[in-house]
Amino acid sequence: MRRLFSRRVFLRGAGGAAVALPLLNDVFPSSAHAAADAGAAAPFPKRLFIFFTPNGTVPGEFFGPGNTTNLTLGQITAPLAPHIKDLLMLDGLDNKASIAASGDPHGVGIGCMLSGCKLLTGAQAQGMSSGGWSSGISVDQYVANVVGKSTKLGSLQLAGKLLVSSIFSRMSFSGPGQPLDPYADPQQAFDNIFASSPIDATSARRLALKKSILDEVSGQLDALATTLSRADQNKVQAHAAYIRDIESRLLINVSSSCQPPPRPTISASAPVGYDPYDPNNAGHEVINAASDVDLPKILQAQLDLIAGAFACDITRVASLIAAPSRSDVVMSWLANPYGSGQLSQAHHEMSHQGDAQGAPGLIAVDSWYATQLANFITKLKSIPEGTGTLFDNTVVVWCNELGIGNIHSHTRVPFLLAGSCGGYFKTGRYVQFPAGTPHNNLLASLALAMNVPLTNNSFGDPAFCTGPLSGLTA
């Protein structure tokens, strides 16, 4: 085993006994802070992770049948049973911004998911009435602007599928009309997260050159901005600010106690016969089962990278779009719930076969996603931090652009939290909210959980926020 394990970390990994043992190979030595603080009572950074899966749900099987107060899991959420004490099931939240926004219901669902704001006008994906980008900052970026100031990456956006840039596949916005592109390729993501950590002589020279390049580019952006109309000026200035942000983080060194995970061996390849940059794909996937077979490995790699980035404190905010909104992933590795053989139908397609006919397929797909999430939680629990684990200081949010896919509803959208975020949330519960509670309230709660103050006790479009959710905190 090449990686360096301190004895303490090794024991902690083995201490998990039978459960943790098979994972030992993947255990990160410890979080950077755990090593630096060596068990001191210093507070550990809190982490926020957003896990997005598409096409709505089968509510009874997500929220659990017959719930009122006690948390029971449905077929979809059953794979999370080992973590049931850490879950907080949120039933009855409406994506009000999406209901008010115009455009394709999938696109507005994901576009308003983290921003809680309506979309700008525009046609991101031609032909489709998909609306423009979000009109406000997303909560992950709002949080990252505060908690990510001193980390090498302010935030980390990853995806399971490569897609043309459109509102169907973008969830994070650094400001109005400023979508952040996720890395869909685990190797590319790895290189951007870990490549220069820790900084040695070779990477120092490379970083110095990068800095010279960015100096020149930001100079050009400033000069160009002075010649433009107001609207264009805003665009170019936002671009310049982004470049300066990258520049300022270039030389942040990561704790030398951090051992990055191995570089992923899986690389996202462009789906066969589908040019992701062809605007005629209307911004969403074309059904292509052959290109989907790598998805399990890609998601596994992306989740490992996020765990690694958290453990090394390279970032404290991450999101993963497992598949874009309106996804037509064909999960051919699953058994066909409609008959014999393997599942051959695409996700979005199944969501429109009627609630009853579509349900077996949707349950199969969503419970598979739940399994990936459960494994990720197990992984976070295997990374020691102080007297506990990294998971203790994390909150995971599982979200979806729709409530029920068949009718494109934005009401009773499935939200599930996992992890207390450093004791902020009181987990192991099912909470039912009054009908019509806006999901912006959840976004507000997430900011507070991460110790980021709100303005006017509200997040997103204030028309769709009545303050943080009540009854969630410990």
Partner: protein, 439 residues
Amino acid sequence: MAISAVTRLGSLYACNVATIGEDGCAQQFITIFGKRAFRRPLTSAEATRFFALYTTGRTGGQFTDGISVVIEMMLQSPYFIYRPESGVAAQAGATAAPVTPYEMATRLSYFIWGSMPDDALFAAADAGALATPAQVTAQVQRMMQDSRAHQVVATFHREWLELASALDAAKAPTMFPNWSPQLASNLYGESSTFVEQVFWGDGNLATLLEAPYTYANQAVAQYYGVTGPAGATYTKTMLDPTQRAGLLTQGTFLASHANPDQTSPVRRGKFVREQLLCQTIPPPPNGIVITPPPYDATTTTRNRFVAHETVALCKSCHTQMDPIGFAFEHYDSVGQWRTMDGPSAVDTSGTLTGTDVDGPVDGAIALMRKLSTSTQVANCVATQWFRFANGRTETDADKCTLVSIEQQFTSSHKDMRALPIAIATSDAFRYRTSNGGSP
């Protein structure tokens, strides 16, 4: 990208280091590659700064390290990523000024090719030979010969006619077991080939809207139930002229503008209103259920959608869509010809209102014949090209420009190939104003 450019440096740029030295080669590279990347000659201040950047990269490394830094910078430069335009200074009292020759070369190349200018366009810009309508016409005619123009024309039609939406049209498998992604892909290929052949063939709008033939392969011929070619290649194939006429009677349009289990007079009518007549239908009011009525085999489409005629809230907009869409009722959810609609014979009587060809229509073929004589439809095609070329919707300030483009289209007997030339030579394309509209 920069790394792969450096490993292919020889193909980007040949320079003899032995003769003119590394610094000389670097300076040459900056001038030549910089002009291509920025689509204009570099200023001398830029060239000086970029050479300094090269030197930074070269120090402690190799020649290619220095070049690599320059390429990396240029590919991140806003002058490469964006298309900034300054125009030439407007004359006193003028509200508009021509774009610079290099900006004009860039406008033309991105409009006709969707890519950067070639050597001939750069040469024309160097010589100031993109100034008059005749010079621009000559360039557009030259550029239209190139395969890149075919790609852009295909892109325009896919966007305007929403062809790609057929590729992921979901259909109820129990009702339409023959529908598959493969069939959708074949139908998409059919319509794409049809559009390509019509545009570059006779170019006539009427052919696009009324042709009694299509370009079928074996799967497509089977779909239409006609004798056609064997194999995968799309070949001109006659269709039953009592059943099919032009693009809107092809499977691509019909299947993508339908619900999974039933037709959609709404979506078919809306397409005609918005894409062919350039009229806008407002979105449904907030808070109402917009789920289509469930399919019911015991009754007809018209009966299922009757709320659109009887409920006042629905009626105001749906009278603009459904009566056009009903003309397509001979085609089911996947675009196949049918004679029965549930228990009754298909009723294709429809109505056109708010157009220059108003009146009753019976069936899609009659509808297409009417639309193909409509001046409003012809003007809409011109408008669609205008939007595509300028990357924006038209404003009131564009009225004069549009009228001129429409006139040129009409006097070409609606040859669609006249439109790119009319647009490229228009004032809106050759000049810029402070507000971004037509001068």
